[in-house]
Symmetry: C2
Subunit: 114 residues, 2 copies
DNA sequence: TCCGACTATTGACAAGCATCAATATTGACA
DNA sequence: TGTCAATATTGATGCTTGTCAATAGTCGGA
């Protein structure tokens, strides 16, 4: 009896009995949150905001080299994902890191490392 | 003198002196690694592999409900990103979590939380 | 009340990507 | 060496998304 035949002895498929533990979870939601962070521009925004505490949207246009609508779009993505906070003062909008939201968004990764 | 004029006193732009700290980094590379993880199917694969220690590619087709080429494509993405390892035994391919790679891929997020 | 500046939204377009069918490659076994 | 099974690659397609131009909304100040 070959190694393969032995492995297949108690099943009709490939190697193990294919009795996999299949964890459940809302992978779509988790991936959606991670996808918001997994973008070069949004990573740069997060890094800048984290380094400065609180940042006005108007000050991002220059270092990022992108148009105002594009930056506004990314800020909205980050805000909707709950990883940054927004505070409006007059016509200005100040953004800051939401540490709890960031930790929650990154939890699918950290949980894999234990 | 209004609040705004006071804020603008020493600059010709919006609120602060716009003297932002702008951290440097390879955001493209970091985002690329995160993007590999930020996918529902690949998150499911990682979760299954983590829960079973070592998993044969052939056993993933059933729980994921995807075609064999598609699963092979995702496994390649994860392997190239360094978040899983591959060991070939005969015609089978077994995959396992690469904890160091996963931690490295997630570091852009964990670094923001400190 | 009007004007100017900052921000947000809409519409459109190009690039990236997840998916599958078809095919190629590789390894075990007779 | 020939055949079969598991895996990987290629080509094609539809969907998602990052980007900008144009526009709308909003607030402060004269």
């Amino acid at each position: 009896m070959t190694v393969r035949e032995n492995l297949l002895a108690e099943s009709d498929v490939c190697p193990p009995g294919s009795t996999l533990v299949v964890p459940e979870g809302d992978f779509g939601r988790e991936a959606g949150l991670l996808k918001v962070i997994a973008d070069p521009t949004r990573l740069a925004i997060l890094r800048i905001v984290a380094a400065n505490g609180s940042v006005c949207a108007c000050d991002l246009e220059s270092p990022l080299g992108l148009s105002q609508p594009t930056i506004s779009h990314h800020l909205r993505q980050l805000f909707d994902a709950g990883v940054i906070t927004r505070e409006k003062r007059g016509t200005w909008a100040f953004y800051a890191i939401d540490r709890d939201g960031l930790q929650a968004a990154g939890s699918p990764i950290t949980a894999l490392i234990q």
